[in-house]
Every structure is written in structure tokens, then in C-alpha cells.
């Protein structure tokens, strides 16, 4: 199945190259690369009449780099230009497939170009919800099996896909109708600022690279300022993270972006020395042994109150963080249709996540701060 998918993409890439060959003329091969400081998954090179986005990590472990050509409709393109998909810019109609793409569109002031989304209820942003309620954004099924008919009917200029491997049949069908599907691999980034930097990817699509660059710079400055502020404190609390399903406890690895942010917020993450991808699955007893006296517990699953948590398992009562009522969760900040705001806005705003964490770890530094994502559990 996977091989078939790879073969299909391979064949498609050839068919696209043929289209590319028919649009030719001037040769200006000296492009200027846009600065990408933290993200590893993509690059943007601007040429006189067009730009090229290369996405090298559309999904974890991908062995193919996707090359996307962005050009105005009648742009003059050089001979022998090779690419996988061509997108006419600036994009006027777009379909995105992850809530994490929404904040980028909003920041760039282009949310009105959003015409379809799979799973509208997950979207929490008030601005976008207004458009959904007015019927301007259509439901297009689920990411893994998009409602192809509705999507084709919308005739977007581009579909921003995200995929867990090369096997997304819906995307192959859409590509056949000459609607370009381009992969956004922001979720595979290993650093928080790297995730946020993908706004430059959207900037290029809307021909707003400068605006995207300055938005990102703002986030970067805020993040680094917050990090510096956290460094002024000597006392580092110990931190437990993750949650338990049955008796398996899932905690982020020490090299994950979550662990990096705990470190940047100047706290001592108990599994900081572990390395791997995904999350570490531990037995209850090994977590209790290590983290019983942890000062703070963040990202405590879907719980919104201590009573719900203890009803689920009385073992939780053994942790000092639970006894001291120092458990924080992102599950309490939800949009009107139940989407968790952290999953939507978090990747785009690591500066806000960092500030939330600093206000939890070192409350004296941000006294009147109102956290965006992390809230203390209810009693």
C-alpha cells in the first residue's frame, strides 16, 4: 500500500514536470533564500518572477523533498524548472486541514480566503467561528478521508495538507483534478520557534513574505525576552508532565519541544535526559518513584478538576503536586464548539506558552499575568 502511494506520488511528480516544461522563458537562476532561523522542515527561495518552497519533512521519516513552485498566473518561468506542484499566487481561495494553520491565516489577515476545513468544530478562534457561522467556510470531511466532491466543488487555489505518511488517498484524488495539494510539516518540527516559523510558508503563498517575517520576529523577540526574564530566578521547580491512560504514563521526551520550553522557562523537567521521538511510555510505579515529590505537574491530560482526576485513579493522590494543588492543564481553555485552544494557537504562539509556564513556575515574575492556555485545575 505504502509502495503504491510512493509510486503514485512519483508518477504525479512526473506529470507535473511536464506541465512545468510547457511554461518557459527567461532564465534567472540566482534566487535569494529567505532566512529560516529555527525551522528545519522547509526553505523558501525567491527568484525574480517566482519562488520555490521546498518541504523536506512533510511527515516524520519522509525520504522525499517536495518542491513547490509559487508564481503569479502569467509569470515567465525558466526552462527545465522542476517541481511537484504549482500554486498561483497570491492565493485567493484556500483549504487548510489542521487547526494549527488557522492562526497563521489570521495573523496575515487572510482568514477570509479560507473556504473549507475538515472538522469545523475543532476551530476555536472567535474570528474564524464568525465566518463558519455565516456559512463562508464549508465542512470538507475528515483529514484522512476528505469529502472530495465538496472540496473539488470549492475550487480552491491550493489545499494545505498534513499527512502522517505518503499514503493519503484523498490528497492523490484532489491532485488529479489539478488542485495543488502542498504539505505543511510544521508539526514535525522539534523546536517551538521552529513550529512558529512556518508562518513564513503561508506568507509566501499570499505574497506577504515581509509581513510574515515581521510577525515571526515579534514572536521570537517576545519568546527570548520571556526566556531571559525566567533566567533571572535561581530557584528551579521540578516538573512532571504528561498523563496516564490505564496504568501507562505518557511523558514527553527530554529532546521534545515541550521539554525545551520547560527548560526555557527555567524549571527542572524530570525526564530532561531522555531522547527519542513521540512520547515516553512509563509504568505508573516508575513515574511515582521519580516524580512523587515533583513541585508542579503540567499537561495533565483531559482532566479539568482534581475530583475528576482522583475519581479516575486514586493513585494520583500520592503526588505532591496533586496534594499541593499545583496541577495545570490546557484542557480548560476551549472554544465555543469544544476545540482545545492550545492545539490551535499553541504552535503559532510559543511566546505565550512560555509566558504561561513562567507564570506557573515563577509566579513572582509575572504577577498580574492572565495565562492563555495553562490553567490550574478546579477543585
Amino acid at each position: 500500500m505504502k509502495k503504491l502511494g510512493i509510486l503514485l506520488i512519483f508518477l504525479l511528480s512526473f506529470s507535473c514536470k511536464d506541465i512545468g516544461k510547457s511554461e518557459k522563458k527567461t532564465t534567472n537562476l540566482q534566487g535569494q533564500e529567505i532566512e529560516i532561523k529555527y525551522a528545519n522542515g522547509f526553505s523558501i527561495t525567491q527568484f525574480e518572477d517566482y519562488s520555490i518552497i521546498e518541504v523536506n519533512s512533510p511527515w516524520p521519516g519522509a525520504d522525499k523533498t517536495f518542491k513547490y513552485l509559487l508564481a503569479e498566473k502569467n509569470a515567465q518561468l525558466p526552462d527545465h524548472l522542476e517541481y511537484d506542484q504549482k500554486v498561483n499566487i497570491p492565493v485567493k481561495k484556500i483549504v487548510v486541514t489542521s487547526t494549527t494553520h488557522i492562526p497563521a491565516l489570521e495573523e496575515l489577515n487572510e482568514i477570509e480566503s479560507l473556504k473549507g476545513f475538515p472538522g469545523l468544530d475543532y476551530i476555536s478562534s472567535k474570528e474564524t467561528r464568525k465566518l463558519i457561522n455565516s456559512g463562508a467556510i464549508k465542512e470538507v470531511g475528515k483529514n484522512e478521508s476528505l469529502n472530495t466532491e465538496v472540496l473539488i466543488d470549492l475550487q480552491p487555489d491550493v489545499v494545505i495538507g498534513f499527512a502522517i505518511n505518503a499514503d493519503n488517498k484523498s490528497f492523490s484524488t484532489i491532485e488529479k483534478t489539478e488542485i495543488p495539494v502542498i504539505y505543511n510539516g510544521e508539526w514535525t518540527e522539534s523546536s517551538a520557534l521552529g513550529k512558529a516559523e512556518w508562518i513564513k510558508f503561508f506568507g509566501a503563498l499570499y505574497d506577504k513574505s515581509k509581513a510574515a517575517d515581521s510577525i515571526f520576529r515579534g514572536i521570537e523577540i517576545n519568546y527570548n525576552e520571556a526566556k531571559k526574564l525566567a533566567e533571572t530566578v535561581e530557584n528551579k521547580p521540578t516538573v512532571l508532565s504528561g498523563s496516564m491512560y490505564n496504568d501507562q504514563w505518557y511523558v514527553p521526551y527530554g529532546n521534545s519541544w515541550q521539554a525545551q520550553m520547560i527548560k526555557d522557562a527555567n524549571a527542572n523537567y524530570l525526564w530532561a535526559d531522555t531522547e527519542g521521538s513521540g512520547s515516553l511510555s512509563l509504568s505508573f510505579e516508575s513515574v511515582l518513584d521519580k516524580a512523587q515529590n515533583a513541585d508542579i505537574w503540567i499537561s495533565a491530560g483531559q482532566f479539568t478538576s482534581y475530583s475528576a482526576m482522583l475519581e479516575q485513579s486514586q493513585h494520583y493522590s500520592q503526588f505532591k503536586a496533586v496534594q499541593d494543588k499545583r496541577v495545570y492543564s490546557v484542557s480548560m481553555s476551549k472554544g465555543e464548539t469544544g476545540g482545545v485552544i492550545f492545539y490551535e494557537l499553541g504552535p503559532q504562539r510559543p511566546d505565550l506558552i512560555l509566558k504561561d509556564l513562567i507564570s506557573i513556575f515563577h509566579p513572582q515574575l509575572l504577577e498580574s499575568y492572565e495565562p492563555t492556555f495553562f490553567k490550574a485545575l478546579n477543585k
Binding site: 472538522g119 475543532y122 491512560y245 490505564n246 496504568d247 501507562q248 515516553l280 511510555s281 512509563l282 509504568s283 505508573f284 510505579e285 516508575s286 511515582l288 518513584d289 512523587q292 483531559q302 482532566f303 479539568t304 475528576a308 475519581e311 479516575q312 485513579s313 486514586q314 493513585h315 500520592q318 469544544g338
Partner: protein, 343 residues
């Protein structure tokens, strides 16, 4: 007489093995706890670290009890089903009980997003899972009982049970298809089975169901023995077949239903334990088989739990995978060695 002495000595050996394995089970785990601390915890003496006492008394000990209850209860359910249907492939799964429980849990966890609101918070409570699972298996049970009143043929009941399993499986698929990742994950984790998340109060409730189920099974021993000779023969011996069938179904439901509710669906034990025991004790007398299956089920489950904990490692494996991984090759090996099912 000589045979009886042999059987009794085998039962005694099984009791000793069970005791040794229970001790081994609580002394092994992800966290290394020195032997002295294990005994100190058990006898309320001073321990070198308070966490150790909690791990032993409130985590490993209830887990070991749960393993014993689940293993023996599922083993007995399997034995009852195999005798009633006179089919070596029968087990608690065939009545559709596990699938009914799965559907109940699936509706609770994944249906909550469709219904929304406060229902989602309810889905997080552990008791709601137990209740949903019990309601699910009870509904299937009632349907099977209704069918068994009308049908004279036990094979037809078996097929109806299998059909219910397909039907509930289809409904679970539809629910999964429309569920967000978090809910799907929660359901999948439930379906992996788990022994380690029960409080003493929950172990207590589970024991009550276990006791009732086992008592009913003991009550049926005589009739079970005559059933092995065929329904017609049993009837000629004065066994009230439909009443007996009802009792067996209720006993199985009490055992398999409560275990599935608290521990999730645990595969294979119900099917494998009676076969394994028949290899050691080649008789059909349920008076001996019943206690042997209770002991054998408990022993197998404790072994599976020890393996699932991967002593010395920081993580554990899902119990449902281990029961099949260990049990299936053992049964295959025994069957190949003995060439046939002894039934």
C-alpha cells in the same frame, strides 16, 4: 482412588505454584524494590522509602489480586462455555459479552463527542466505564437469553453470539470513524486491557461478582458433567436443559462481564486455560476440572502480568497482547505434541 490421589496432588502443586508466582509478581516491577522492603511493606514495618510501601500495598498487591480474579474467572467462563456448547473453540467472547461491553464503552467514550456537553466529563469517570461496559454486556446477554428460550439448538445460540459480536463491531467502527483522536485513543487504551489501575474498593466489588459466578458454576457441576455426554442424554438423566443453560449463561456473564468492565477485554485466557488444564489433568469430571481451571487461570494471568511488566524496564506492555502472545504458542505446542484436543 489412586487417580483421585494423583489429581489432588496436582491441585496441591498448582496451589503452591500460584502462591510462589503471586510472591514473585509483587516483588517484580519497573521500580526495583529490595526484598527487605517488600516484606517490611507487607508486615507494616519500617521501609527505606515510603513510595515503596505505596507501590507494594496499593499498586502491586491489588494488581496481583486482580490478575488472580481475572485469570480464574475467565478460565471458568471458558470452561462453562466449552462444556455447554461442546465446542473446544468456545470462550467468554462467543456469547458476544465482550463485544457488548466494548460497544457500551465505545458509546460512552466516543459517543460523548456526538452528544457533547457534560457527557464528556462523565466519560472520564472510571465508574461510568464500568457501568457502560456492564450495561453493554447485559443487553447482549438479554438478547442471547431471549434467543435461547426460543431456540433448542445450542449451536444456534453460539452463532447468534458471534453475530452480535459482528454487529457491535460494526457499530464500534462507525463510532471510531467519527471520533476525534483523543477519544479514539482513550477507547483503544481501554481495549488493550489493564490490571494495574484498580483500587482496593474496586477489587472488592470484582471479588463479589467473582464469588457469585464461581458459586453458580459449582452449583452446576453435576449438570455440567452430564452435559458432556450430550443434551439428549443429560435430559434423560433428569437435567432441566434450558434452566441449566440459563444458569451457565448467568454465571459466565457475572464472571466475564465484571472482569471486562474493570479490566477491559482480556483475550485468550478464557479459551486457553481449560485446554491447558486438560493437558495436565486428562479428565472430564468438573469436580476436579473446576478448581484446577481456577488455579490454572490465576497462574497463567500472573505469568502474563510478570512478562507485561518487563522487570527492570521503565515501561509496561498491554496485558491483552501478552495473554495471546504467551498463551497461543503454548496451546499450539501442546496440541501438536498430543495430536488432538482432549475433550
Amino acid at each position: 482412588m489412586q487417580h483421585t490421589a494423583k489429581y489432588v496432588s496436582i491441585l496441591v502443586i498448582l496451589v503452591l505454584v500460584l502462591f510462589a508466582l503471586a510472591l514473585l509478581n509483587i516483588s517484580l516491577g519497573s521500580v526495583h524494590i529490595p526484598a527487605r522492603d517488600i516484606f517490611s511493606s507487607l508486615f507494616n514495618a519500617e521501609v527505606s522509602k515510603e513510595t515503596y510501601r505505596y507501590i507494594i500495598l496499593d499498586y502491586r498487591l491489588p494488581k496481583a489480586f486482580t490478575a488472580i480474579i481475572a485469570g480464574s474467572g475467565l478460565g471458568i467462563s471458558g470452561l462453562l462455555m466449552q462444556t455447554m456448547f461442546r465446542n473446544p473453540l468456545a470462550g467468554p467472547y462467543v456469547l458476544g459479552l465482550s463485544s457488548g461491553a466494548s460497544l457500551g464503552v465505545a458509546i460512552l467514550i466516543m459517543g460523548s463527542t456526538l452528544i457533547g456537553g457534560s457527557f464528556i466529563a462523565l466519560a472520564l469517570s472510571k465508574w461510568s466505564l464500568v457501568i457502560a461496559s456492564s450495561i453493554g454486556s447485559l443487553i447482549v446477554l438479554f438478547a442471547v437469553v431471549l434467543a435461547s428460550v426460543r431456540l433448542r439448538d445450542t449451536m444456534a445460540i453460539l452463532i447468534i453470539g458471534l453475530m452480535f459480536a459482528s454487529l457491535t463491531g460494526a457499530l464500534v467502527s462507525i463510532l471510531s470513524y467519527f471520533s476525534p483522536a483523543a477519544q479514539l485513543q482513550q477507547y483503544i487504551f481501554w481495549s488493550f486491557g489493564s490490571l494495574g489501575d484498580l483500587s482496593w474498593a474496586e477489587v472488592g466489588i470484582l471479588s463479589v461478582f467473582w464469588f457469585l459466578g464461581i458459586s453458580l458454576a459449582i452449583f452446576c457441576i453435576k449438570n455440567l458433567n452430564s452435559l458432556l455426554l450430550g443434551e439428549e442424554y443429560a435430559r434423560s438423566l433428569g437435567v432441566n436443559i434450558s434452566q441449566n443453560r440459563m444458569l451457565i449463561i448467568i454465571a459466565t456473564s457475572l464472571l466475564a462481564g465484571s472482569i471486562t468492565a474493570f479490566c477491559g477485554p482480556i483475550a485468550f485466557i478464557g479459551l486457553a486455560v481449560p485446554h491447558l488444564i486438560r493437558q495436565i489433568l486428562p479428565i472430564n469430571n468438573h469436580l476436579i476440572l473446576l478448581p484446577a481451571v481456577i488455579l490454572g487461570g490465576a497462574i497463567l494471568m500472573l505469568i502474563c502480568d510478570i512478562v507485561a511488566q518487563l522487570p527492570g524496564m521503565e515501561f509496561t506492555l498491554p496485558i491483552n497482547a501478552i495473554t495471546s502472545l504467551i498463551g497461543a504458542p503454548v496451546v499450539i505446542w501442546l496440541l501438536i505434541r498430543k495430536q488432538k484436543f482432549q475433550f
